[in-house]
């Protein structure tokens, strides 16, 4: 088979081929590294046209790891279902011996002395880490334009955003540079990039996946999760990274729901007995007609699958965006205080004047943080300051309670809730760069799940003007398996209707045939 063929296979098919010995992990890994070399760069200079999904590619480490897995398999070792399959890891997770920047100048050249628990789980399951994927600085942004290392381009149209903050993890999938990637989702950073790139992404229940080694943005909202091109692949990766971690005091002690079994059950396309709620406040005004049309078609598929679809209202959800943009900056201003130029990362010594710890901190943070990070640090510092705390941060926490109550009431009536993942398809790079409020508004449908700690999935619902539209599914806390059952059923029906996966329609990238 050709190299181009291997990179088009999803993880489930690669796993079968690896198990039966049709291909080796070394071949699969080399095919993806070659693909990365062909389409990922360069991003600056006159020929800046690459996807730029990766900030760091570990050619030698990945190949060595792949050969080790091949040797283990040949020796009859008991390997996990995804052993030997390549994976990209968002640069917000620490990787021992591999540079980790979180998309910031603050951590340029930093090599962590330890692995995040998620990365340790990937290694333990035999996955092959290809490298680190691009992101908005410290996961703040919805476009990946706020990476200090240059934008990531949407494989559907290189002039458009790949979403964010995990634009690299999503674009790597859509450009066939990796069959699996890890993302993190604080307000939609897994789901919105999945939506605008025609891929699948899941934000698990808060605490379902360890945050140890996940560079913190907003600790009460952050959640790492799986990204892939199919619902089943996403479930397989979810099963690898989820589970209790004694190194994370917010990690759930519960058993991981059977997400793979749920995906398998859903793939039959039958949803008889399932009640699906349509959130009235998350559609209509502010949502593009093409997005609404694909969403309505998905609802018709749910009904055809035997599900009961009802509309319901979550009145306080309209305040979620405002509450989020107070809670997130408040927690971020506190979490980012550790970047002070003292123990690791950047240190800038100001020229002239008295060089003290404080002047070094101020100069370091001025040079190390980009605009969006600075905006949110200042906003959070304001919202937490005496005299404003009650009106801003305190009120936002109360709204969080109201949003949680709305969800609790809704889930007493339905099994899952659905909405479009984002109000628009991918917009042009630069379009909202100087208008942070307009960018924030794109998170309106994803943010409520983070405030309430709910699991959420985005999966492809079709195209609008040639660009992907995502459908979001939300479930109660700890019921992540419902996402996979309902998602797999919709996917099975839509792929059947389309005559193949949506990503078969992604334009060939820069003359390199997909």
């Amino acid at each position: 088979m050709s190299v181009n063929e291997l990179v088009q296979w999803d993880a489930t098919r690669l796993a079968d081929a690896l198990r039966s010995g049709v291909v080796s992990s070394e071949e699969v890994t080399r095919a993806h590294l070659d693909r990365i070399d062909a389409v990922d760069g360069p991003t600056s200079g006159p020929n800046a046209s690459g996807v730029h999904a990766f900030l760091h590619v570990d050619h030698e480490g990945a190949l060595a790891r792949a050969r080790q897995i091949d040797a283990d398999r040949a020796a009859g070792a008991d390997l996990g279902p995804l052993a030997g399959i390549p994976v990209g890891v968002k640069d917000v997770l620490t990787t021992k011996g591999l540079p980790t920047t979180a998309g910031s100048r603050m951590l340029e050249g930093w090599v962590p002395p330890y692995d995040a628990t998620v990365v340790r789980e990937l290694h333990a399951a035999g996955l092959v880490v290809l490298g680190k994927t691009n992101m908005d600085e410290f996961a703040m942004g919805s476009t990946t334009e706020h990476s200090a290392y240059g934008v990531t381009r949407n494989p559907w149209d290189p002039t458009r955003i790949p979403g964010g903050s995990g634009g690299g993890s999503a674009a790597a999938l859509a450009a066939f540079e990796a069959p699996l990637t890890i993302g993190s989702d604080t307000g939609g950073s897994i789901r919105q990039p999945a939506a605008v790139t025609g891929t699948v992404g899941v934000k698990p229940t808060y605490g379902a996946v360890s945050r140890y080694g996940l560079i913190a943005l907003a600790s009460s909202l952050d959640q790492a999760g799986p990204c892939a091109r199919t619902v089943m692949d996403t479930a397989l990766l979810h099963a690898v990274i989820a589970g209790h971690d004694p190194y994370d005091s917010t990690s759930l002690p519960d058993a991981v729901p059977d997400v793979v079994g749920a995906a398998r059950q859903g793939a039959t396309g039958d949803l008889a007995g399932v009640r699906i709620g349509v959130v009235r406040e998350l559609s209509g005004e502010g949502y593009e007609p093409g997005v609404v049309a694909r969403f309505e078609e998905s609802l018709a598929e749910f009904r055809a699958a035997g599900a009961e679809v009802v509309e319901l209202s979550l009145p306080n959800i309209v305040h979620a965006l405002a509450a989020y943009y107070l809670i997130l900056p408040s927690e971020a201003s506190s979490n980012l205080a550790k970047f002070d130029g003292m123990r690791y990362g950047l240190r800038v010594v100001p020229e002239g004047g008295n060089v003290t710890a404080e002047t070094v901190m101020r100069a370091t943070r001025a040079a190390g943080f980009g605009d969006e990070a600075k905006r949110r640090i200042i906003l959070g510092t304001y919202a937490l300051s005496a005299g404003y705390y009650d009106a801003y941060y305190g009120s936002a926490q109360k709204v969080r309670t109201l949003v949680q109550r709305d969800f609790a009431a809704a889930f007493a009536d339905v099994d899952v809730l659905v909405s479009p993942t984002a109000p628009t398809v991918a917009y042009e790079l630069g379009e909202k760069l100087d208008d942070p409020l307009a960018m924030y508004a794109g998170d309106v449908a994803t943010i409520p799940a983070n405030l309430a700690g709910l699991p959420g999935m985005s999966l492809p619902a079709g195209l609008s003007d040639g660009l992907p539209v995502g459908l979001q599914i939300l479930a109660p806390q700890r019921a992540d398996d419902r996402l996979y059952r309902v998602g797999a059923a919709l996917e099975a029906r839509l792929v059947d209707k389309w005559g193949g996966p949506l990503l078969a329609k992604v334009p060939a990238w820069q003359g390199v045939s997909a």
């Binding site: 009460s220 004694p246 305040h319 690791y344 008295n354 003290t356 404080e358 109360k398 969080r400 309670t401």
Partner: protein, 99 residues
């Protein structure tokens, strides 16, 4: 009326230990004012009878067994330091800043 003034932003930048140029302060003040204007509505919905939620999944008294286990070596901990000396982080002057 603007929610936040340029001089307030300057003060906040000082509290957050970020040097900002005049141009940056001008731009930031305008943008933050628009953001605060948009988020201020939370105060109207949040009435006194609503309790605050700080965490989506409350867990209490999370502990793990208190046993000695390997951690980072001093060399590993210092590997990313901007400056180190004698097995310690070397930092700029902290005390006697007026001297």
């Amino acid at each position: 009326m603007s929610a936040i003034s340029r001089s307030e932003v300057e003060h906040l930048a000082r509290l957050a230990r970020i040097d900002m140029s005049d141009e940056e302060l001008d731009r930031m003040a305008g943008q933050l004012d628009a953001v605060l204007d948009a988020v201020a509505a939370v105060a109207k919905v949040a009435t006194d009878d609503v309790p605050a939620t700080s965490h989506p999944v409350p867990l209490t008294n999370v502990t793990r067994p208190d046993v000695v286990r390997p951690g980072l070596t001093a060399a590993e901990a210092l590997a990313g330091a901007p400056a180190a000396e004698d097995g310690r982080f070397r930092v700029p002057m902290i005390l006697g800043e007026e001297a």
